[in-house]
């Protein structure tokens, strides 16, 4: 089945990870709608600049992009008809704060400690991605003008935490991190290479090269793109169904999706101390230990399942250096855990194995399920976002640095929330009880958890226990947004949404 997407109608951030197109800077704005008529007019004005998913040629690439989404209360403020509003799913209606018990946002991640902006009512999310900070700023100035022109219709909310720990910024900036020579890198603040294994779905371009390890695993061991409806409303999903999260009328939902926005603070000092302490008792190098936490080596993203110790990593690096561009991509993404069901190479609790277990939830029982990834293919998300802030002192946790995490999916509850709750903060599906994933888990300072790094079964060796895991990531804000199609944006702006 091949599917042609209506690229002119779909917002570009759904189909493209802008970071992969040299957009190294981003700015996120949040607004409140104070007047329905003027608010819709503002949405109409912004829609003229909204970036679609149309393919870019080298000379047609914009210097800045703009995308827009709405919270449930935002759609209320825009005066969508009640019948349409009632078609939105529970979790979207409740918003991220209301879901804190599902997401495990407790302790230092509790919404009461979030940036001040999240104590306000947020209606609109606006994103600008730019090839330079100047391009971002130019688009930002244009948006400020539209806000002014709305004449009190919308208000730009301030309250993002800045460098001085004051929650006084009117926007959230994000940027790739640069190496010592000033070259952009795909790193985040813990030093990991990020954004390698994003999901691939039917209708995206250049599928053949990208689908390996990123689509769904077939019984014969091949990879196919996931069904479009996992990521876009109005399209058939992996259950041969249309996403049940779509509001009416059809045109309001079609080609739209849901986005999770989360500001995640990284406790860099705790991470570094934890890694140092644990590596003293770990049988292997410190970098191997860091690789076992995430499932990928920090320096180049080598999957630890194919480079499970220092010697094999050296070999992997040699092959990687000798490979061409396509070969390198393949080495990074094309793998399964079929030969590592016990987790001796890549621990079962490693980050990338928890969030995308590939075929491993079949536990090596051949043909147990309809497809090897039967329990996985409906839990995938599209990852977007960039790091924010700078680490000034790698021994400290405070400061303003982390990741702006964005996830796109057709069903927040079934996809993002499920992964967050069941696979990061809990592990029954992995037969690891309540053991949380090391990097993202909401570890409890009073009662810190552990994970087991398995070894070769029958080898007589003891597995390695990683104990006293501190909370390495803290939520600092976020919400759930509806990302309408461009048609739907025009309908909302025109006040012509009618579900009858």
């Amino acid at each position: 089945m091949t599917q042609n997407l209506e690229l002119t109608d779909i917002q570009g951030n759904i189909v493209k990870a802008y970071g992969a197109f040299n957009f190294t800077k981003a700015r996120y704005l949040f607004l409140r709608i104070d007047n329905g008529d003027k608010g819709r007019e503002f949405v109409g004005a912004v829609t003229t600049k909204v970036t679609s998913a149309v393919r870019w040629e080298k000379n047609s690439m914009p210097v800045a992009t703009t995308n827009i989404g709405f919270t449930f209360s935002g759609l209320q403020a825009l005066e969508l008809p009640t019948a349409s509003l009632m078609g939105f799913p529970e979790e979207f209606v409740m918003g991220m704060k209301g879901r804190k018990d599902i997401l495990g946002d407790d302790g230092p991640s509790d919404p009461m400690y979030w940036d001040k902006i999240w104590q306000e009512t947020v209606h609109i999310w606006l994103s600008i991605n730019g090839q330079s900070i100047e391009a971002v700023d130019e688009r930002y100035q244009w948006i400020l003008k539209q806000i002014e022109a709305s004449d009190g219709g919308v208000t730009l909310l301030t309250g993002h935490r800045g460098e001085k720990d004051e929650d006084n910024l009117p926007y959230q900036d994000a940027s790739v991190l640069y190496d010592a020579e000033g070259k952009p890198t795909p790193k985040e603040h813990f030093g990991y290479t990020d954004g390698i294994g994003d999901a691939v779905f039917e209708g995206q371009t250049n599928i053949q090269a990208r689908v390996l390890g990123r689509g769904k695993l077939t019984r014969s061991g091949h990879w196919e793109p996931l069904a479009t409806g996992e990521f876009l409303l109005g399209h058939v999903d992996e259950a041969m169904d249309y996403p049940q999260t779509a509001p009416t009328p059809k045109l309001l939902a079609h080609n739209g999706t849901y986005m999770v926005y989360r500001k995640l603070h990284e406790n860099v000092g705790s991470f570094n101390r934890f890694l140092d302490e644990q590596s003293k008792v770990f049988p292997g190098s410190k970098e191997l230990l860091a690789a076992k936490f995430s499932g990928r080596w920090r320096d180049n993203g080598a999957p630890v399942v194919n480079a499970p110790d220092d010697a094999s990593k050296a070999e992997w690096d040699k092959n990687y250096a000798a490979a061409d561009f396509a070969g390198q991509k393949k080495m990074l993404i094309d793998f399964t855990y079929n030969d590592d069901i016990d987790g001796a190479k890549c621990p079962i609790s490693a980050h990338i194995r928890r969030i995308n277990p590939r075929g491993s939830l079949e536990y090596g029982v051949k043909d147990a399920y309809e497809r090897p990834g039967a329990l996985v293919d409906r839990r995938r998300i599209l990852r977007r976002g960039l790091p924010y802030g700078k680490v000034k002192d790698p021994t400290r946790d405070d400061g303003n640095h982390g990741i702006i995490f964005m996830a796109l999916n057709a069903d927040i509850k079934r996809q993002f929330e499920f992964v967050q709750q069941q696979w990061i903060n809990y592990a029954n599906d992995f037969k690891e009880g309540n053991d949380k994933e090391v990097l993202l888990g909401n570890h409890d300072a009073k009662n810190p958890g552990k994970v087991v790094f398995q070894v070769e079964k029958g080898s007589g060796k003891a597995p390695h226990f990683v104990n006293n895991i501190p909370r390495l990531i803290e939520a600092r804000g976020g919400d759930y947004f509806f990302i309408p199609s461009i048609t739907a944006l025009k309908m909302i702006a025109g006040g012509i949404v009618d579900p009858t």
Binding site: D101, A239, R414, G460
Partner: protein, 215 residues
Amino acid sequence: MSNIAGKAYAMNVITPIRWYKVWINRLIFKIALSKPSTLKGLVTLSLIHYARWVIIPRDGFPHLDSSQPKENLNYAYMLFFSNFNGSWDQYVDSFTFAIPAGLDLFWKWNVRYPKSVPLSPFHKYIRHNQIDTSHYYNAYPMAASNDVKSAKKLKQALINFNAESASKTSEEFLADYNRLLNYLQHDFGEMRATPIVSLAAHAVKERYLKSHAAH
């Protein structure tokens, strides 16, 4: 009322089946029981404490007392009774994704069974025929089925180890101990409270605890 107790969810689904087709289902159950490989998907899912399918013939419902009016039923019924870990969605979805053919085999002869794929008609069918649980007691609310399996394995291994290690030298003891840890390396999952899979069920529980604390 709650279908949830700790990490367990109780599901009762009762679906009509034409009485003259009951024999087909009985035959299918018999084959499934005699060929365990037909259930390997279910077993691998490992989120089920108990699951049972029972056929209740048209005249098979209990008649407890002569004062109870006699019923004249048009259908026989299939009772599906299951105690599993996780939310309703997680369970029903796992079933549909992982073993759609097995579900269809068991329910195929039931009246208006829509097949397990696509998902939403199947969801509606189960919801429509589900009997909610009025009282549900769970002696080990923190134990998922996997926790129980691991605990049993760990207990037996420790008892054996204890019996065998008494007279060993310290080198032998260490080697044996490492072997023990290796054998148990998938059974060390921490057992703690369940994640909150349903905010509504959680609120019911909180209200209950609050009112009982007040008295």
